[in-house]
Symmetry: C2
Subunit: 286 residues, 2 copies
């Protein structure tokens, strides 16, 4: 069968498709993205394809989740390329609303999640997760998905959306999917395109330090010591400016100092290389 | 046909019923209440019954929307009586979750609406409309209604919920229903039961002053003058303590001083009689 994908840019048109899918008893999956697709996004589509009858991908660079000094304007966009990638990956409905369609009037409603947003990116990007929670809620109201697929690279985003869906009894299952990496270890991100060759080379320290951390944790090295060693490794890169290196419980994101056997933890990194802020993480059991 | 009503107290059980109703293509209406039903609530059921195949009423005294010094604990409750009234009025599913079912863990997610919550009850009851917006969002996720019915006595609540549903593209139509009054004019409220005979008698000044206001507005009396006359009328009641008397645009709830022909405005009152805070309003075009 030839894969046909429909591109939809209005909420009203999306509702018609969703209503029809619901009438037919189809299960609906959503892959929310900001576009400039890479293999990480496509792995989400693959997971959605396996679980759902109807796969919706949204491409929307959401202004609400960017701070005033962040990269909303220069965030990379290439809709034509995205469309081909989405089609090949098996997306049924590609939702590409303009900002004026999503926010036709000043947005007065805000969805916020406390506690899990207080560390990591929530701390260094104030308002970011309010923007994420609000747009994800809105997308869920429009698409009414049974499943929503998110990449674990944005582990805190997964924690926030999972908490929100639980708290508000949203009729959707949040499905986290593993980080996809380049052959040399760099976690895929639309922002990687910003990196110079030299920055990209040095950015490999992120995945390398996480690989080491995994080994150290398995060997029983103390958590503080693991953190110190990672900071040390990253600091050796002249272009690296550490935003944070944290070990926290997962998905609660509470501070963790002593080891509790069976505890799931996250080693989370955010590091700037030039103007580009990269994040990476490892979730493991200690 | 004998009316059969089912009482449901868990979210999981409600989901089963909703899924089945959806599968059958039924339209779903919700009447969210805090119980201690009166004719006002039953008029909402009547409106829902006319518009929807499946009528769900929720009875949930929502702790999130009560301030620390408000009447959560003493809010009147009578589930047995409510059940009979709901059944007679034609409710299909009566949703009566415990607080522990709605909030099994500390609630970390908050839905808030700005601007329209900054005046009137939003000003005198900080956090109240966050609690309302959050629980209504949660009820909408559980019941997935096509229509939701709210009484205009809580006109600001209607404005907040309508704004929220618009902003978040919720697939639900908010249906405001007219205030229901006793023969002597007192707007129906579950809190009327708190009133002593003397307080109740003096509380009639609310509806009486609104009736006068309607006439004055029609006669072209200046808005500030109308407000002054209402304050004067209410102040003549020895037991009345005014919380607010406001004339605002509706549903935006912006300040209004000069007359704009065709402008929809609300005359909104909140007045304490003893420990009981009553609200009433008039929505009209000037």
């Amino acid at each position: 069968m030839i894969q046909t994908m429909q591109q939809i840019s209005t909420i009203a048109e999306m509702r018609v498709h969703i209503k029809e899918a619901r009438r037919q008893g189809k299960t609906i999956g959503i892959v929310p993205t900001m576009g400039f697709l890479h293999e990480g996004h496509l792995s989400l589509v693959k997971a959605a394809r396996e679980k759902c009858d109807l796969v919706v991908m949204s491409i929307f660079v959401n202004p609400l989740q960017f701070g005033p000094n962040e990269d909303f304007d220069r965030y990379p966009r290439d809709l034509e390329r995205d469309r081909e990638l989405a089609r090949s990956a098996g997306v049924d409905l590609l939702f590409t609303p303009e900002v004026s369609e999503m926010y036709p009037k000043p947005m007065l409603t805000n969805v916020s999640v406390s506690t899990v947003t207080e560390q990591l990116c929530g701390k260094s990007r104030p308002g970011h997760f309010d923007g994420v929670a609000t747009v994800v809620t809105k997308l869920f109201q429009i698409v009414q998905p049974d499943y929503a697929f998110f990449g674990q690279k944005d582990a805190q985003q997964v924690a926030v959306v999972t908490q929100m869906a639980f708290d508000l009894s949203m009729p959707v299952e949040i499905v986290p999917c593993p980080i996809v990496r380049e052959a040399d270890g760099l976690a895929l991100s639309s922002r990687n395109v910003y990196l110079s060759a030299e920055e990209r080379e040095q950015a490999l320290v992120l995945s390398r330090s996480l690989k080491h951390a995994e080994k150290w944790l398995a060997e029983g090295v103390a958590l503080d010591e693991v953190r110190g060693r990672i900071i040390q490794m990253i600091s050796e890169m002249p272009l690296a400016q550490i935003d944070y290196v944290e070990l926290l419980t997962y998905p609660d994101l509470s501070p963790v100092s002593a080891r509790t056997p069976g505890q799931s933890i996250i080693v989370a990194l955010a590091v700037r290389f030039g103007k580009t802020r990269l994040i990476d993480n490892l979730i493991t059991t200690i």
